[in-house]
């Protein structure tokens, strides 16, 4: 594995394509909030958020804000890229696990189980994107 220090650098982030279903999610990221889906029929939280609960298939799904706290489930630093970057899955304090990037740190210090907190990064011509940095 990689040794030494690999400082996270800014890279061009592809804009998330927005559709009528995901518009509220990206309206919220523009305001600095990360939303997840919560089913009021079965009580299960889910991610990525959608308008039907993937567990009980009820359409009684609400948008809920996350606390912004999570832990790293797994990660990988892509070395063969114009700028090295760290992709990861972070398990939110609210339960669901989401794909993200770990940013603003030494990428060689990232570890599974590490506590992380929410930040937002601008995308290339689109809504801000939720990412995480060591807490």
């Amino acid at each position: 594995m990689a040794r030494g220090q690999t400082t996270a650098q800014d890279r061009k982030i592809a804009a998330p394509p927005v559709n009528p279903e995901t518009q509220p999610f990206f309206d919220a990221t523009a305001e600095g909030r990360l939303l997840y889906g919560k089913c009021t029929a079965c009580g299960e939280p889910h991610f990525y958020p959608r308008r039907h609960c993937p567990f009980c298939f009820s359409d009684k799904v609400e948008w809920r804000p996350t606390s912004g706290n999570g832990t790293i489930y797994t990660y990988s630093v892509m070395r063969r890229a114009p700028v090295p970057y760290c992709i990861a899955y972070v398990t939110l304090a609210e339960g669901p696990t989401m794909m993200t990037n770990i940013v603003d740190c030494d990428l060689d210090s990232v570890r599974i189980g590490q506590a992380v907190k929410l930040v937002f990064k601008p995308s290339d011509g689109g809504a801000p994107v939720p990412m995480f940095t060591p807490a």
């Binding site: 394509p17 669901p96 989401m98």
Partner: protein
């Protein structure tokens, strides 16, 4: 109702090219179809069922391909689950034959990512039409290598799997590939060479990754009466299983694959167990792919795959589970970035006794071919096929 004993693989062909700058995509499809027909002793007009994957066959499903190839069909299917498509289609073709929907089915795969200069594993790919997950994944630059790498990282964390153990998968593939004159990589490598090759996406090194190659292959499947009238050694389809595995609404667990469902379904239909298997073709997009699938198919306990593949246990004539004796995707080829079809080809060669003598498994009467299409790191479809000699 079962597909057991209802269909036989009667023709196979693997395109020898690994760099097809001088050929069109459909030309490659036609060449592999022609090769498999010659192997079977059949002609194009005998084909009444055609299977291809939408992702490597241009046009609306199979329509343009049927036109180009001049096929008159009464059954067609272009289910696309990425690299595992062709393993699913072996099962689907057997189903169609069992139901009388066709008598002789052709499956083709072709591609030329190398000629097109594609950075298959390391460049994130934006879909032409966004998928529902795209807004929540594309910004993070998921490529292929870093997705499988995240599965490997978690497997290492949870089960203590090491880079050296993963490297043994590549070592075994290279031991086999030295006997395949068509293989892209014919040099035998060591564990040390694998773990000291450049890091691509932690913890996967360059030699943990499969090759990028052009080429393709074809399979012809026929009903028993026809199969028994032909002159080639008989290879019977005993069972098949398929299953998607995804993120389960955020209950993400990257330590296992859809083989936990497709494998038992295929083994149950075949009426055999992993202990009965003499040869295994296991999709080897990356070394971790093999370790996880071997565990999930039941060849060892969950989490013990790293130990299982070590010390040459996958090398023909040396270990307990000879695998990918053509060199697999890690050394031989990975046409169209899809490794499922070639897994069937080498399993058929082994059952016919037509593998290279240096890697031919003795008394090889039962084989499994298994693959994962999509990504271990996000969502994929697993497919398992059990084949028997005679």
């Amino acid at each position: 109702m079962s597909i057991r004993d209802k269909a036989y693989i009667v023709g196979i062909y693997e395109h020898p090219t690994r760099m097809a700058t001088d050929k069109s995509l459909m030309q490659l499809h036609a060449e592999v179809a022609q090769g498999a027909l010659e192997d079977a002793g059949l002609t194009k007009n005998d084909i009444d069922g055609y299977f291809c994957a939408a992702g490597d066959t241009p046009g609306l499903g199979p329509i343009s391909a049927a036109d180009y190839l001049g096929l008159k069909l009464r059954h067609m299917d272009s289910t696309d689950t990425g690299g595992s498509s062709y393993l699913l289609q072996v099962g689907h073709a057997a189903e169609a034959i069992a139901l009388g929907k066709c008598s002789i089915a052709l499956i083709t795969l072709a591609g030329r990512p190398r000629a097109e200069g594609m950075a298959t594993g390391t460049a994130p790919r934006a879909p032409g039409v966004p998928m529902p997950e795209t807004p929540f994944e594309l910004p993070y630059a998921p490529a292929t290598a870093n997705m499988y790498a995240m599965a490997a990282m978690r497997h290492m964390h949870q089960y203590g799997t090491t880079s050296e153990q993963l490297a043994w998968v590549k070592v075994a593939a290279s031991e086999h590939a030295q006997h395949n004159p068509h293989a892209m990589l014919q040099n035998v490598v060591t564990v040390e060479e694998v773990v000291s090759s450049p890091m691509i996406a932690d913890p996967l090194h360059r030699l943990d990754c499969c090759v990028i190659s052009d080429g393709g292959g074809a399979i012809i499947i026929a009903k028993p009466e026809i199969a028994k009238s032909l002159k080639r050694p008989l290879v019977k389809i005993l069972g098949a299983g398929e299953a998607p595995k995804h993120q389960m609404g955020g209950k993400v667990d990257l330590t296992y694959s859809g083989a936990v469902w497709s494998g038992p379904a295929a083994f149950a239909e075949a009426g055999v167990t992993p202990a009965d298997i003499k040869y295994a073709s296991i999709y080897d997009s990356f070394t971790i792919t093999v370790v996880m699938q071997i565990e999930d198919l039941g060849f060892c306990e969950k989490g013990q795959g790293g130990k299982f593949v070590s010390d040459g246990n996958l090398i023909s004539g040396v270990g307990k589970l000879p695998f990918n004796t053509d060199g697999g995707g890690l050394c031989n080829n990975h046409p169209s970035n899809r490794g499922g079809l070639t897994k069937v080809l080498e399993a058929v060669r082994q059952l016919r006794g037509e593998a290279h003598p240096k890697v031919q498994v003795k008394n090889c009467d039962l084989a499994v071919a298994h693959g994962t299409g999509g990504s271990l790191g996000t969502r994929h479809a697993a497919a398992t096929v059990i084949l028997e000699r005679g």
